[in-house]
């Protein structure tokens, strides 16, 4: 899938966070889907970046989920009190269920003349980021929801539709893997 969100560097722009009070305010005042997207897109891109592991997959993930949610926006607004939380949960689930299967395939109509130049990720020299990217999608989602969203085990289980035991085991495996890889990276640096 090709990212359709044009990524243009906005100089000096502080994009991102959306607090709980902001979410409540959005739930009360943001009726229009376009306004919801305009306000929350930076934070969702940041969250998608943590979830997917690279900017392009993050843009695709955000766009796919927002289009799905926007196509049934009235239903989402009536059924969920917090559409932003719903979008974040949808992103985590979409990343786990769909993303892993399709992201390695990039079907194009014509083979490009010049090979694609992969942009340099600013986290490329970060061992923890590399170890995080190498985790299976569900383990990474659990870690992101735990340390990015600051959700509890029960909330993560509810968000992902799994049991608390699954969340606990996935988090434990992920932390063990991260420790092992960080130790390996530290040993290699010596």
């Amino acid at each position: 899938m090709v990212a359709a969100i044009p990524v243009v560097r906005v100089a000096g722009a502080r994009l991102g966070w959306c607090t709980v009070s902001d979410r409540l305010a959005l739930g009360e005042h943001t009726e229009d889907f376009g306004e919801f997207v305009r306000v929350n897109l930076p934070g969702l891109l940041r969250y998608g970046h943590a979830l997917a592991g690279n900017p392009h997959d993050a843009a695709d993930l955000v766009q796919t989920v927002l289009e799905k949610v926007g196509s049934r926006w009235t239903h989402v607004m009536h059924k969920t009190g917090d559409p932003l939380a719903y979008v974040r949960r949808s992103m985590a689930n979409a990343h786990i269920s769909h993303w892993r299967r399709t992201r390695k395939e990039n079907l194009v109509a014509e083979i490009p003349d010049q090979p694609r130049v992969e942009p340099v990720d600013s986290f490329d020299n970060e061992p923890l980021w590399q170890a995080l990217r190498a985790l299976p999608p569900r383990q990474r989602a659990v870690i992101v929801l735990r340390y990015y969203e600051e959700l509890s085990e029960a909330e993560i289980a509810e968000s992902l539709g799994v049991s608390r035991g699954t969340v606990k085991s996935q988090a434990s495996k992920a932390m063990d893997t991260l420790r092992t890889r960080l130790d390996q990276a530290a040993g290699g640096d010596r």
């Binding site: 969100i5 991102g16 891109l45 998608g48 799905k68 196509s71």
Partner: protein
């Protein structure tokens, strides 16, 4: 440093922030509208197909519930036990008769002051001594051994 703190530090890093391109919001809103429209068209098509299916199923059910002729029963294997001058039994024998109980006149069931006069022909024609009687083939009983003629 604990790995928990490392993760929290990583997720609050400014480098995680991605810039939003111009026109991104419009692209998403347009994509959502396109999906909604596509789903509406698909839903209408599915509804139409379901309606056509229901109509066809109703027609098929109505057709199958209509009365139909029972296939003719297989004729019994019967042989006449005596010759007669009466016409062939096939002209009087009704194939469907074995399926139904024969209608008999039971006087005890019609206890009326004046029984209605019988105006219709009886279901079985009056028999005459010369008329053919139809019976099933009897199983031949074996002759006793002592009655067998001795072979010469």
């Amino acid at each position: 440093m604990e790995i928990d703190d490392e993760l929290r530090r990583l997720f609050t890093d400014e480098r995680l922030t991605l810039p939003v391109g111009e026109g991104a919001e419009q692209a998403i809103v347009a994509g959502a509208a396109r999906r909604r429209k596509r789903r509406g068209v698909a839903g209408a098509a599915a509804g139409g197909a379901a309606l056509v299916g229901v109509v066809f199923a109703g027609i098929a059910l109505a057709g199958s519930s209509a009365p139909h002729k029972a296939p003719p029963a297989a004729p019994m294997s019967i042989t006449p036990t005596s010759s007669s001058s009466s016409p062939a039994p096939s002209s009087t024998h009704r194939p469907a008769a074995p399926h139904r109980l024969p209608k008999t006149t039971r006087p005890e069931l019609t206890k009326t002051a004046q029984p209605p006069p019988r105006t219709t022909q009886p279901s079985t024609p009056p028999t005459s001594p010369e008329e053919t009687t139809w019976t099933a083939n009897p199983i031949p009983t074996p002759l006793p051994l002592d009655t067998l003629p001795e072979g010469g």
